[in-house]
Each structure stands twice: as structure tokens, then as C-alpha cells.
């Protein structure tokens, strides 16, 4: 064991050089063919299956599992991808324990659902590793659509539009496409460059032009896009991060969890990513868990995740909470940050315990902290956007905004959970509605 784990402050390389690969390896190693057949065998092929209902993209799960069971994983992949073009990523990052697998009748019967997520990955990997793209572009319509954001919503929308014969230009502010798949998800959920490989595979449909480094408000305007295209889809996600509301929160070492995750994902060598000995993460969602677990994997000695409500209210699934606990993350509930202490840089962060109604109890907690990662939600950024509902762009069931010719979906739009799979569904459905509006 390296003595560097005890070293105070923020530093890289806390672990032995050869330890990182194992730390950041695939969370769920892929099923081999035998394991896939055994897992597929357990599906009952339910009628009007509860798992399909639970899937935001309505994948015909019993059918694709039957196709795996009968030795046709590529047909299974087509079944999946026809509903969810990012079925490969969703197989890796979906909280299946809250969606399809929670609904599985074998969860009810035996407490052991069919391994739907892993079977989905088995099928999609089988197809994509051969480089096969099972869809063809429809006859050209001559219509041009602009998509803002190359994340799950934008790419899903772009792919469906391209399939339907439209020409699509996708703008994204970042240097690489993929959105949160590339920048916002824990490395151990999507190792080996899968996010970029999936984008490359998706682009095989043709008819999509990617423009990276093209940010709405800076490089392009909504007015301009609208003028130059037959329709516009907004799927740029949430760019801003909420403030803590604690005194001293601008001290060095207080960071946005999304930036930490993005830096880690973009680091060529994770051993070079500096991490504090004592790390505190604030928040209760998937981003908080991803930040806390990865801080631990980088060699932080003490990682504490603090959430203002009880565990049952955390957005992160029980599986994710247990994963964090198993990696040694301490989870503290019912506490809100009140002050960040330190001389220039954070040294300690102080919390007050609150009751179920978020009322202060006067009981305080101080945690040593070299780094504080904020994961308390993100906000929509941008001016001159269509009408909002709350803090997001208001959309109807097919993604139409208050402005004619502009659709929106994914995290930047109202409705649905902030999940990859929900964004994919919203992008797809908006594409179909745009198609109907343009040529229907």
C-alpha cells in the first residue's frame, strides 16, 4: 500500500501505478455467450410485459431476449436499437434496478430479475463490435434540421431524423460529441472509449453533420438556426450548477462534481488526476454517487457523501447507494452545508443536521475536506429560449416548445426523469413529430 494515501492535501498518484486499471475496470463485466444463454433462459416471455412498460424507450424486452435465446443476438440488437439507438450505452448506465428489472416478474417471484441490462449489452455489443449498422437512411426529403447538443437526446433525435431522410446538423459546445455519455458518467460504467465508439457507430446512418465547439449563444443563435433550417431540436442539457448557499463556498477546492467527472473521463491517465485525502460530496443523485465512488477509486482516504434528506429520498438508486458504501464511501443524511472553512482553500466544511421538514436542529457536523464536490443539481443556461416551465424548457408530449418549429428534449426540457434513456426516448419522439410536421 502506497504511503501517499495518507498524505494530506490534494495530489495525484495516491495509489500504486498498477492499481488504477483494476479500480476503473468495467463495473459489470460483459456476459459471455454461455452466461447470456443461461440468463436469457429465465425470461418467461410475459404477455404485455411489465418490463416493456417500465422502459422509457419501450424496448420489446421479451422479444430481444428470445432472440438471444434462439442464437440470433444481432436480431436481438436490432429489436433494441429500433427503439433506442443508444441501447448500448443504456445497457451500461440505466438504473435497471429501478426500471425494467424492478418490473420483472421474476423479481416478484424470486427476488432475482432476469439480467435485462446485461443481456441488452450482450446483444448490442455483439452487433456493434462487428461494425454492423442495421438501419438504412430513407429517401432524401430535402429538409434540413438543426440539433443543439450531441448528447443522448440530440443524437437520438438526429439519428431518427436521418433515418427518415432528413439532413441533420448537430452542434455541440464541447470538443467531443456524446454529451453526458462522454463527459458526465463514471468511467467504470463505460470504459474503453465506448461513448465515442457508439457515436461513430451511430453516425454510420449518414446524413448527420457534427459540429463540435459550436455553442448556442456564442457561436450560433437560435434565431439563426431557425432561419436556416426547417426545424430545430434543442437537447443541450443543463450547463449550469446550482450554488450551495453556504458561506465561503467560493474557496479553492470547492468544485462542481460534473467538472470533476468530466476531467476524470478526459484524462488520458487517471493516475494523473489529483484527489484530496479528505473529500466531501454534496448531493443525493447519480452524479453525487459517481463523484464519490470515483474519488474513492482514485485513492481518497475519506470520502463522505452528504445529502440533506433521508436515504429513501435520494435520487440515486439503492444499488448505487450500496455500490458507494461497498467502495468505502460514508453516506451522511439529513445535513445541509452552512459554511466552508479554510484560509483561501477549503480545510473543513460545516453542516447542520435538519429534520424531515428541512428545519435546522442546531446540531452541527464538521468534516475535514481537501475537496468539496457539489452535485446538487444543474440548471438551464441560455437566453432567448422558448418559454420555460419551472427551470426547464416547456414541452408537450412530443417535444414541441412554445415556439413553432422548435422542439426540445432531454435534461433541458420539462417532463421525464433526467436519465440517459429518457433523453433518448424524448429525442426519438421529437424526431418523429418533426418528421410528421415537415412531410406528414
Amino acid at each position: 500500500m502506497s504511503q501517499k494515501v495518507f498524505e494530506p492535501g490534494i495530489s495525484a498518484g495516491r495509489l500504486e501505478a498498477d492499481a488504477y486499471a483494476a479500480q476503473f475496470s468495467d463495473l459489470h463485466p460483459p456476459l459471455d455467450p454461455h452466461a447470456a444463454l443461461v440468463a436469457a433462459d429465465r425470461c418467461y416471455f410475459c404477455h404485455d410485459a411489465p418490463c416493456i412498460t417500465a422502459c422509457p424507450t419501450d424496448i420489446d424486452i421479451p422479444l430481444f431476449i428470445r432472440q438471444i435465446a434462439t442464437g440470433t443476438p444481432d436480431a436481438a440488437a436490432k429489436t433494441i436499437l429500433s427503439q433506442n439507438i443508444m441501447g448500448g450505452m443504456c445497457a451500461r448506465v440505466c438504473p435497471t434496478e429501478q426500471l425494467c428489472e424492478q418490473a420483472c416478474v421474476r423479481e416478484e417471484a424470486e427476488g432475482k430479475p432476469v439480467k435485462i441490462g446485461q443481456l441488452q449489452r450482450y446483444a448490442t455489443d455483439h452487433l456493434q463490435e462487428q461494425g454492423k449498422h442495421p438501419f438504412e437512411r430513407g429517401e432524401a426529403t430535402g429538409k434540413r434540421v438543426a440539433v443543439v447538443g450531441a448528447g443522448p437526446a440530440g443524437l437520438s433525435c438526429a439519428h431518427r431524423l436521418a433515418m427518415l431522410g432528413h439532413d441533420v446538423v448537430v452542434h455541440d459546445a464541447r470538443p467531443k460529441p456524446g454529451g453526458l455519455n462522454e463527459y458526465g458518467i463514471a468511467a467504470y460504467k463505460t470504459p474503453d472509449g465506448f461513448a465515442q465508439a457508439e457515436v461513430d457507430w451511430l453516425m454510420q446512418i449518414g446524413g448527420i453533420t457534427l459540429k463540435n465547439g459550436s455553442a448556442l449563444g456564442a457561436d450560433i443563435t437560435l434565431e439563426g438556426l431557425k432561419a436556416d433550417h426547417d426545424a430545430v431540436f434543442l437537447g443541450m442539457g443543463l450547463g449550469g450548477v446550482n450554488a450551495l448557499g453556504a458561506t465561503g463556498e467560493n474557496k479553492a477546492g470547492v468544485l462542481d462534481a460534473v467538472d470533476f467527472i468530466a476531467d476524470l473521463r478526459q484524462a488520458g491517465d487517471v493516475a494523473q488526476v489529483p484527489i484530496g485525502r479528505d473529500v466531501v460530496v454534496i448531493g443525493g443523485g447519480m452524479t453525487a454517487i459517481d463523484a464519490a465512488v470515483q474519488a474513492k477509486l482514485l485513492g481518497a482516504l475519506n470520502v463522505t457523501l452528504v445529502y440533506r434528506r433521508g436515504r429513501d429520498r435520494m435520487n440515486a438508486s439503492v444499488f448505487e447507494q450500496d455500490l458507494a458504501a461497498s467502495k468505502g464511501v460514508r453516506i451522511v443524511n439529513h445535513a445541509v452545508p452552512v459554511a466552508v472553512h479554510g484560509n483561501g482553500a477549503v480545510r473543513e466544511i460545516e453542516f447542520e443536521y435538519v429534520d424531515a421538514d428541512m428545519k435546522g436542529t442546531g446540531q452541527m457536523l464538521r468534516l475535514a475536506a481537501d475537496q468539496v464536490f457539489k452535485a446538487i443539481g444543474q440548471t438551464l443556461e441560455g437566453d432567448a429560449l422558448p418559454a420555460l416551465e419551472g427551470r426547464k424548457i416547456k414541452v408537450d408530449g412530443t417535444g414541441r416548445t412554445s415556439v413553432d418549429g422548435i422542439w426540445a428534449g432531454g435534461d433541458c426540457a420539462s417532463g421525464g426523469d433526467d436519465l440517459t434513456v429518457t433523453a433518448v426516448a424524448e429525442g426519438r419522439d421529437a424526431a418523429i413529430d418533426i418528421h410528421m410536421a415537415l412531410v406528414g
Binding site: 444463454l37 442464437g71 440470433t72 436480431a75
Partner: protein
């Protein structure tokens, strides 16, 4: 994409997957659901002469299961349709009108006299149906009344009735054969002599699925008694495949179109029937177990398989395996194989060892650390270890190259083909000169 369209004795359907004459095709409601789900055609549940038969009011089905309660075999004591003839005819007409691209074949079973056939055939023709299937196979209830298998077990009756039917209709006539017979070729020959356009097989097999050990009565039990029923489902597939092949490879019967029936559950089952000579397949138990939706897997699977094999239509698959079905005495006795265990895939359950050590040739060695390996000097390549191994492709049969020495016999593996007819141990051997 391979073309799945099927033309069976002039009856066209968008795919070669039909539903067999059985409970799933007894009513308009079911058949419409089947067509919506994608089935290429149906054989409507057997019609008879009014008054309709009556069914029992207790259990009609019994089942046997594999692991995890997977239904492997189903036995039924249901009779032909128990609804009035006119109602069935009206429904057939209505469905065919709305689904003109689907195959609509009507199964028939009337008394073994010419008049009832002359009566019913024009009524069926009037519905617009594409063909008829003669039910000479139902093994329970109807056979006791001189119909169904009672006809199908007597080739002369098959020929006679088929001739009557052909004389009274322009529709293609498919004769459905019972497997409850010693040699399936005899009824097929009789059907051909009678002028049948095709045969379909197999119908269900006489069976008792289980016995209630408290009531001491066969299942399904009706008020303490049970009767034999017709057995179907995945368990009967090997019997059906053999019977299909027996007809397909018979020189006198090789031109008879065959509709394959018997345990078809997946695209693979269908492809196997077709390779052995079936022009299309009929399905029943699988939809009774899983619903009509399974046809989607059959369509995608067969399509992918044909594409992989470079075949562009189903016709290119039909009869593809028939030339390779032969008699035992034609098998190459100079072919030598040995089992091989892949230690990377092996999970060390030891089932191969138990099977070989206790019941076969003591050709598998087991080490202290549970490593299993084949003793080539003992292995006769019987395949039992492959069959009992729970892991796919963990144990394989490796062919020995000609010129190498088989450590079991000490003999050099010969390159030339040689079968039993010329083997020195065969008292009737003919010299290979």
C-alpha cells in the same frame, strides 16, 4: 434480406409460418389476432357435420415440464370444433376477405362416407378458403367414431377419402397424417394415390402425460377418470422430424410437398423441418405456451439465417438436408472422432465423468483438482459427454485426420469411405472389389 414469401401447393403466404389446426384457430377472434401478430397462414380448426361435437367440461390438457417449469410437452383431449358449421364458415369467409394475402386452409373431418364430403366441400369453397386439410390424425374421441386416426391408420381409407375429396373440389388438398402408425410412408403413399396435393405431419401422439398418485387416475383427470390424449410440443419434434425425413427421402414420395408439424417453437425448429423436406411449417403448442407474438422471432431468425447462408428465398432451404439422411449401414465406419474437453470453458461439474464412467467407456479422467480430460485410448466418440455437459461447446468431437493412429484400436485412420455392407465382421458382406 431473404424473401420469406411462401408458395405451398399454390397457396401463397407472406412467410412459411402457419398455425396448425387446433384450439388457436378455432375462432375468428383468435385468427385475426394471429394475422395481426404476423402469422403467414392458418389451418382453421377442424370442421365437422352438425350437430357439433361436445367437449368435456373438465381439464382438456396435461403437461410435462423441464427445468424451471418450461413446458416441453402438452397432451390434449379436445375434439374438433364444437361450434356450428355455419358459424365457422361465416367467420372463415370474413377473415379471408380482410386478410387476402394470408393462407386460409380449412381442416375437415366428416364421417367416412362420400356424401358428407360432397356436402361440406362446396360450403368451404364458398368461403374463399385457399385449401383444405383432411384430418386423418386426431387420436382421441373422433377415432372411436370411425374418423380421424381411425381413417389415418388404414391406408386404403386414406386413398378412398382423398379421391372423393379431389373429385369434389378444385381446392388444393393436404392430407394430415397420424404418427400412431408403424411406417409413415404407407399413409403418405395412399394419400398420393388418392390424388392429394400435399401431406402434413405429424398429428398428435397417443399419450398419458402423468398419473395422479392420490386419485390413481391419469392426467388430465375428469371426475376421477382419464383417457389418452394427443401429445404435442417440443418433446415430439424428433419424432416428427424423422417422419418428415422418411417421406422426403423415399424415392416414390420425394415429390410430395410436406407441411411440417410437431414441436416447432423457434426459427431454428422451422429451419430444421424445412431442411428435412417441409415446404412450410405449422405451429400450435408454442403459441399456446407463449402467445402469437413468437412469430416475430421466427421471422427475424429465419431471415437472418437465410442471409447468413447466402440464401435469398425459403425454397433454397427446403430439402437441403435430405440427401444427407441415410440408413445406418451407409455410415462411414472409417470416420474416427474423439471427445475433447475445453478446460477454459469447463465448470468442473463432473457430469461427463459420471456418464462416461458409470454408463459408457471409462474414457474420461478426473484429477484431484477436478480437472477432466478425455482418455483417447478409451473414447469411442459416443457423444454422451457432449450431450450431458451443461456448457455449450465445452466438449466437442474432434475428427481424427486420416493417417493418424487411433490409440483405442491401434489402427491407422483410413482415408477411404467404408461402411458395414463391406465390413469383414458382416456375415452378409459383399467383397469390395
Amino acid at each position: 434480406m431473404a424473401d420469406l414469401r411462401s408458395d405451398f401447393v399454390g397457396i401463397k403466404s407472406p412467410n412459411p409460418f402457419w398455425l396448425a389446426s387446433a384450439p388457436p384457430t378455432d375462432k375468428e377472434y383468435n385468427v385475426r389476432r394471429a394475422f395481426e401478430a404476423g402469422w403467414g397462414g392458418v389451418v382453421w380448426k377442424t370442421l365437422g357435420i352438425d350437430p357439433p361435437v361436445v367437449n368435456v367440461n373438465g381439464p382438456r390438457y396435461g403437461a410435462i415440464y423441464g427445468a424451471d417449469r418450461r413446458l416441453l410437452g402438452l397432451n390434449n383431449i379436445e375434439l374438433i370444433t364444437d361450434r356450428p358449421l355455419a358459424q365457422n364458415l361465416q367467420e372463415i369467409k370474413s377473415v379471408k376477405r380482410d386478410y387476402p394475402d394470408r393462407a386460409m386452409v380449412v381442416s375437415l373431418m366428416v364421417p367416412c362416407e362420400e356424401e358428407p364430403w360432397k356436402y361440406i366441400l362446396p360450403l368451404v369453397e364458398e368461403t374463399g378458403a385457399d385449401g383444405v386439410e383432411l384430418n386423418f390424425g386426431c387420436p382421441h374421441g373422433m377415432s372411436e367414431r370411425g374418423m380421424g386416426a381411425a381413417v389415418g391408420q388404414v391406408p386404403e381409407y386414406i386413398e378412398m377419402v382423398t379421391r372423393w375429396v379431389k373429385a369434389s373440389t378444385r381446392m388444393p388438398v393436404i392430407v394430415k397424417l397420424t404418427p400412431n402408425i408403424a411406417d409413415i410412408r404407407k399413409p403418405a403413399e395412399a394419400a398420393l394415390r388418392g390424388g392429394a396435393d400435399a401431406v402434413s405431419l405429424i398429428n398428435t401422439i397417443n399419450s398419458i402425460t402423468s398419473v395422479d398418485l392420490d386419485l390413481f387416475a391419469p392426467e388430465p383427470t375428469i371426475d376421477g377418470k382419464g383417457a389418452h390424449g394427443g401429445y404435442c410440443g417440443p418433446a415430439v419434434k424428433p419424432i416428427a422430424l424423422n417422419m418428415v425425413a422418411e417421406i422426403a427421402r423415399d424415392p416414390g414420395l420425394s415429390q410430395v410437398p410436406i407441411s411440417g408439424i410437431g414441436g416447432v417453437t423457434t426459427w431454428r425448429d422451422a429451419a430444421e423441418f424445412m431442411a428435412l423436406g417441409a415446404g412450410n411449417v405449422q405451429v400450435c403448442t408454442a403459441v399456446m405456451t407463449y402467445g402469437f407474438k413468437i412469430v416475430q422471432e421466427m421471422i427475424s431468425g429465419l431471415s437472418e439465417y437465410l442471409d447468413d447462408k447466402g440464401m435469398t428465398s425459403v425454397d433454397q432451404l427446403v430439402r437441403r438436408a435430405v440427401p444427407n439422411v441415410t440408413d445406418w449401414n451407409q455410415l462411414n465406419l472409417n470416420y474416427v472422432a474423439k471427445a475433447k474437453i475445453n478446460e477454459d470453458l469447463c465448470i468442473s461439474c463432473g457430469r461427463c465423468f459420471a456418464a462416461c464412467e458409470d454408463t459408457s467407456h471409462q474414457a474420461i479422467a478426473m484429477s484431484e483438482d477436478r480437472t477432466f480430460s478425455v482418455i483417447d485410448a478409451e473414447c469411442v466418440a459416443c457423444n454422451l459427454c457432449v450431450n450431458v455437459c451443461p456448457v455449450e461447446n465445452c466438449i466437442t468431437m474432434e475428427t481424427m485426420a486420416p493417417g493418424t493412429t487411433d490409440p483405442r484400436t491401434g489402427k491407422v485412420v483410413e482415408k477411404e469411405y467404408a461402411n458395414w455392407t463391406t465390413h469383414p465382421n458382416n456375415p452378409a458382406a459383399t467383397a469390395a472389389e
